[in-house]
């Protein structure tokens, strides 16, 4: 332990050498592994760099320029040319400022919600009700804007909407189900358990199929709920079951003493849950909750099975249906990957901050 300060005083080169020996070359086998992996890394990195950056076609280049370099360099020109269709699908092009604005407002709402200053029930309610209505108006039109039917919605707004509302609205339902599963009232417990086990027992695709295809057959002809709405409700109901189990894990982690202390203070059931139990249970489940949110975010790409154009499909469709660009879908998919990574990384980073932040709270 007292090596550390001594180490810090020695020259940098010597320290580096020691670190290398300790971590990478501690034995012959380790040394060989290190060299092999290093070689592989350099070889792969070099190829990737050459393909994706050095030999790549950037900016608004023509297809012919890309064709000349096929196989040697990436053709980012496909993204430069088709990015609007990739982000917004078949939404009418003259109106695409509307989904763009909706995405920005939506991201703004998420950022504001993430900030501590906004953690008041009334502020959050005003923010989400106002923001959601504004986004809905921008997307759907009416009241001065050209109406755009939901069949034409697509791309990033759809992915964000399905994921965020799919989690946000599933959350209260999930908490209720978790409480219900641990309730002492037998009927409530039975209903909660059956719901959770039933939904967890089927894949999301099945639920989407039910919502989109079977449901339509049970309705009289001419009466049809919006397909997007049906999928959104299906996703909410599906996610609720998973969130319920995450929350239940948190509830079970709390010692009995918390319940007893609350009871000793004379708190009723709801007061106990809302003031004592849930705040602690939800805090310890933050990693699992963010995990399921990231899951939901990526699961939304399944909605293409019921012909809703999420972001991933919009990218695919933009590239593959264009006879000029259809051989450059790898670049399109890499673009989609970058966008997905951006969102998922931001989420996981925020969850780490949140955990630290709340843990600090806890100590003081």
């Amino acid at each position: 332990m007292n090596r550390q300060p001594a180490l810090a005083h020695r020259p940098l080169l010597q320290r580096g050498g020691e670190w290398l020996r300790a971590n990478l070359f501690s034995s012959v086998a380790n040394g060989v592994t290190t060299l092999l992996l290093l070689g592989l890394l350099v070889w792969l990195g070099d190829r990737l760099l050459t393909w994706a950056v050095l030999n790549a076609v950037w900016g608004n280049a023509s297809v012919a320029t890309c064709n000349a370099l096929l196989g040697q360099g990436a053709c980012w020109a496909v993204v430069a040319d088709k990015w609007r269709q990739m982000l917004f699908g078949i939404y009418p092009q003259a109106e695409q400022w509307r989904p763009a604005a909706a995405v920005l407002i939506f991201c703004g709402m998420l950022v504001l919600t993430a900030m501590r200053r906004f953690w008041h029930l009334r502020r959050l309610l005003v923010l989400w009700l106002g923001g959601s209505l504004l986004c809905a108006w921008l997307m759907a039109g009416g009241g001065g804007l050209t109406p755009v039917p939901t069949a034409l919605w697509g791309g990033l707004p759809i992915t964000l909407m399905l994921a965020v509302f799919g989690t946000l609205l599933a959350f209260p339902l999930g908490v209720l189900l978790a409480l219900g599963r641990r309730s002492s009232l037998p009927i409530i417990r039975a209903v909660s358990i059956s719901y959770i086990e039933l939904v967890r027992g089927v894949p999301l695709i099945t639920v989407l199929f039910m919502a989109s295809i079977m449901f339509a057959l049970f309705l009289p002809e001419g009466i049809s709920f919006d397909k997007l709405l049906r999928a959104q409700v299906a996703i909410i109901l599906f996610n609720a079951a998973y969130i319920a189990e995450v929350v239940r894990a948190g509830l079970q982690a709390l010692p009995r003493g918390q319940h007893e202390a609350a009871a000793a203070l004379g708190l009723g059931y709801w007061q106990t849950q809302l003031l004592v139990i849930l705040p602690q249970a939800l805090r310890i489940t933050i990693p699992a909750q963010v995990n399921s949110f990231i899951d939901n975010f990526k699961d939304t790409s399944l909605v293409i099975i019921v012909s809703i154009f999420d972001f991933l499909y919009a990218v695919r469709q933009a590239v593959i249906s264009d006879l000029d660009w259809r051989h450059y879908f790898v670049e399109g998919y890499l673009f989609a990957m970058a966008v997905y990574w951006l969102f998922c990384y931001a989420m996981s980073h925020y969850s780490q901050w949140l955990e630290k932040h709340l843990a600090r709270d806890h100590r003081t």
Binding site: L219, G222, I304, S321, R326
Partner: protein, 341 residues
């Protein structure tokens, strides 16, 4: 028969539940007119048939058919609401009344025509399954029989794999299917040399080959191993709408046969002495009246999308396909418009 047995009819309706109410609902044509839009089920993205063009609007030969119908019925080719549908969803969307017509490269076969509460007004496009090979890698392969024991890339979840197995069994050949998920993955695998051949519909192969930098390396084999007559699809018990859908196909093909085009249709209507043209454009016979439309119905459709040949040139020719079976009957093809009279 049914009128004499109201009780049995009622019981049947009860037994069928909601499905029965579908069958008893009013005609689609009235609903379309009342709504002011035609709701048309299309493919989510198949170049040449229905896919977003550079401006993000649906275009293709299947889309043109919807536009022609909207022009004839509602007087405006833009009054179409397109509902993009996956293969799994298309029939339910039609049965449940979510769409008025399915114009989504759907193969006309007996099962779909008899057991699904639907009907096909006529063939809009003749397709068929073909094979493409890398002729630089396999210079000796000239016909399908030369591909014996070869590996063939196919897309999963389609009938192509079954068709290939059927053909192999019938011709005592053996193919090694290499299955991939999704069209682009299958194409990429074939192009990178994973299989000796790639099989899918001829139109799909054409779409892959057009603009491919290494186009010269590939050869499409002459055999077509399956019949894929692609047709629009409607609900049963809708005679008026069925007649319009059927005669729209014939009218656009008749227009090509008679040389009536998007550009000259008004002039032809005014000046042509050809009786076929006069009946088509409504100058003499009242074809439109029999359909419950006005006499200009076909003129508006041709103004909107051109004749069948023009729609083909605009949508399918860029794929590099030749007309072949889709030529008119008097040019060696299978397209035979019944006489408008």
């Amino acid at each position: 028969m049914f009128e004499q047995q109201p009780i049995r009819h009622g019981l049947a309706a009860l037994a069928l539940g909601i499905t029965a109410s579908t069958a008893l609902a009013g005609p689609t044509l009235d609903a379309i007119k009342q709504r002011g839009t035609l709701v048309c089920g299309v493919h989510t993205g198949l170049t040449g048939f229905s896919a977003p063009d550079k401006t993000g609007k649906y275009a293709g030969i299947d889309v043109d058919y919807c536009k022609a119908l909207a022009a004839a019925i509602l007087g405006n080719p833009d009054k179409v609401k397109y509902v993009p549908l996956t293969a799994q969803q298309r029939f339910t969307a039609l049965q449940s009344g979510e769409i008025d017509i399915l114009s989504r490269n759907t193969t006309w076969n007996s099962k779909r025509d008899t057991t699904m509460g639907s009907v096909f007004p006529g063939v809009w496009f003749f397709d068929g399954q073909a094979f493409v090979i890398n002729s630089r890698k396999n210079p000796k392969v000239k016909k399908l029989a030369d591909l014996d024991k070869a590996s063939v890339c196919v897309e999963t979840g389609t009938t192509t794999e079954r068709n290939m197995a059927d053909y192999a069994r019938a011709h005592k050949l053996s193919f090694k299917p290499v299955v991939f998920e999704g069209q682009e993955a299958t194409e990429k695998a074939f192009q990178s040399g994973r299989c000796d051949a790639y099989t899918t519909d001829a139109s799909g192969i054409a779409a892959m080959l057009v603009n491919l930098p290494s186009r010269a390396d590939y050869t499409v084999l002459p055999e077509i191993i399956s019949k894929e007559p692609l047709a629009p699809m409607l609900r049963r018990n809708d005679q008026e709408f069925f007649a319009i859908a059927r005669w729209m196909i014939f009218a656009l093909q008749q227009a090509e046969e008679s040389g009536v085009t998007q550009a000259n249709v008004l002039q032809m209507k005014a000046t042509s002495k050809d009786p076929a043209v006069q009946r088509l454009t409504g100058a003499t016979a009242e074809v439109g009246k029999g359909l419950g439309l006005d006499s200009d119905w076909a003129v508006r459709a041709i103004q909107a999308v051109g004749n069948y040949g023009e729609s083909w040139e605009r949508n399918i020719k860029p794929l590099g396909l030749t007309r072949g079976m889709n030529s008119l009957w008097n040019k060696g093809g299978l397209m035979y418009p019944m006489p408008l009279d």
